[in-house]
Amino acid sequence: MVDMSVKIGSVTLKNPIMPGSGCFSTDLAQVMDINRLGAMVAKTVSRDYRAGNPPPRAAEVEGGMINSIGLPTKGIEYFFEHQVPDYRRFTPPLVGSISATTIEDFEAMARDVAKGDIDVLEVNISCPTRDPKGGNFALHAEHTYDVVKLIRATTEKPVWVKLSPNAGDIVTVAQAAERAGANALVVSNTILGLKINTDTLRPAIGNKFGGLSGPGIKPVIVRMVYQCARAVKIPIIGCGGIVKVEDVVEYMLAGATAVMIGYLTFRNPSGMIAIIDGLEQWCVKRGFKRVADLTGAMIDEAPMETFAAAAMPIG
């Protein structure tokens, strides 16, 4: 038996696998047993209704996909009145995710959320297409600090801050979030990209720019997880391009305590469940009694053949 549980601050998950925000809803009960997930992560909500961005909202690219959905939402009141009770038909902890364009709006939302029936608050300060030009709080350490500090002061709930790979220096943003009182970091949101349709000579998606995700971005985000894990003490949740068990292992070796999965669900709808099973089998095969022991367990030395080469210099 492998102990599959992981601890993210005060929250214990029965396994480290959860969906990424925007890639999950109770609609997935069509194809999977949702109760097996480590946690449920709701789609990001804003305070008021948002229609989202014009279609087409996504296109495939080599290595994954590019999307600009634009955070459509019926607002936070609807979320608590209708969507939260719907999620509560299932047993995993519920992570609510919020977004806003101003710091005041974020604070007001955090106040609403503090009273609401969610277990964890994910602060999405990194949607690359909410602002059509791609800007967001998570691009700057000081903006991140200010918004997280205000939210921290308004709620006792665990606060997870979702970072952006588009920041020039994600490590200083991670440190700012930690300093402001974040309980964990989600690394990360999508990479801002552009796809052009060569038949029409126009952008492939309605918003022009979109967020790149899928297996093609994984090495970039694993590197960021590694760098952030060495720079902060709070747990990190790895997110980006996981499509198989070994990808989860890689994220955890780099320093992640748990992971979020998005694109895979589009390709293999019950893929998260298969990964939960496969991760346990992987741990058995490799002699890990606790999946949590994988976190940060990368042997931080050069690959073996590099050692061998160093021992026998040429010439």
Binding site: G22, C23, F24, S25, D27, L28, A29, Q30, V31, M32, D33, N35, R36, K43, A51, G52, P55, P56, R57, A58, A59, E60, V61, E62, G63, G64, M65, N67, I69, P72, G214, P215, V243, K244, V245, Y263, L264, T265, F266, R267, N268, P269, S270, G271, I273, A274, I275, D277, G278
Partner: protein
């Protein structure tokens, strides 16, 4: 059914080895052996697969999200939604009729008899058939004709009369004529002789209404014909349903990629084709 991992997928995905499922799970990812796969004309192919029990529960208007093989050196990262063309429960088969038009369908076209097709489904909200209707009219063009096959069959099985107006470029592209002829009366309208013009189709619809052979309208495949049927339906208070397409990512609801515009009481809203459709109320749909 195959219980092996899905070899065409980048990850080993098997059925969950979990404890008993607490609630029914109506759709699944399954590998369906290809029984036959042939060209219908220069552009369309007819694909017959052996369906899993869950897949075989598909109803008219519902769809499967297909993992198509790649037609080139790249990979396909999205599935392709494909509505079902024929449901053959006695033989345990599901059939598709599709147009080879892009990378997905060109990849799909490479499958041979004996290969496995990775399908997710059945998905979405299909057509509704009211038991009080005596005669329905289905109006399809191009690949939309395929989508209207199962509802015509179901109507016939329930003793409801069907008039199928099939619109195409020329006689070669009036597909499935035999299938619709089994279900009822077929009226082909063509670009080559001008019969497919909107005003001519309108005359045909008016004629059916006058003969009281139009208790409900169904359409798929042409925005022009949809707009016509919507207008004639509104003027004569005939209920209607339209099956719509849109680029999809998840096909299951969460991702909000496949939205289209609808209008209810003068207020516009976006709905997801994959889970709130693909079949919608004709008067609420705005078109595409």
């Amino acid at each position: 059914m195959a219980t092996e991992p899905f070899t065409s997928a980048p990850v080993m995905v098997g059925r969950s080895a979990a404890a008993p499922e607490p609630r029914p799970i109506p759709a699944e990812e399954s590998l369906c052996p290809v029984i036959s796969h042939s060209w219908v004309n220069a552009e369309y192919r007819h694909l017959v697969v052996e369906a899993s029990p869950k897949a075989l529960a598909v109803t008219p208007g519902q769809f499967f999200n297909l993992l198509c093989p790649s037609p080139d050196v790249g990979e396909l990262f999205f599935r392709r939604p494909q509505s079902v063309y024929r449901i053959d429960r006695p033989k345990g088969r599901v059939e598709f009729l599709y147009k080879c038009v892009g990378r997905g369908t060109r990849g799909l076209a490479t499958l041979k008899a004996g290969d496995d097709l990775n399908m997710v489904g059945p998905l979405g909200v299909g057509f509704h058939l009211d038991p009080t209707w005596r005669h329905i009219v289905v109006l399809g063009r191009g690949v939309g004709i395929a989508t209207l096959g199962p509802i015509s069959q179901l109507a016939k099985d329930n003793g409801v009369g069907v008039t199928a107006i099939l619109s195409a470029r020329d006689a070669d592209f009036v597909m499935a004529g035999a299938l619709f002829a089994e279900a009822g009366e077929v009226v082909s309208v063509l670009d080559t002789d001008g019969t497919s013009a909107v005003d001519n189709v309108e005359k045909i619809l008016d004629g059916l209404i006058a003969q009281k052979r139009a208790d409900a309208f169904f359409t798929c495949g042409s925005n022009r014909l949809f707009q016509l049927m919507k207008r004639v339906g509104r003027a004569n208070t005939i209920p209607g349903q339209v099956a719509m397409e849109q680029v999809m990512a998840c096909g299951l609801g969460p991702c909000y990629v496949c939205v289209r515009t609808f209008e209810v009481d003068g207020k516009k809203e976006l709905r997801r084709v994959c889970i709130e459709g693909p079949v919608f109320d004709m008067q609420e749909a705005v078109g595409w």
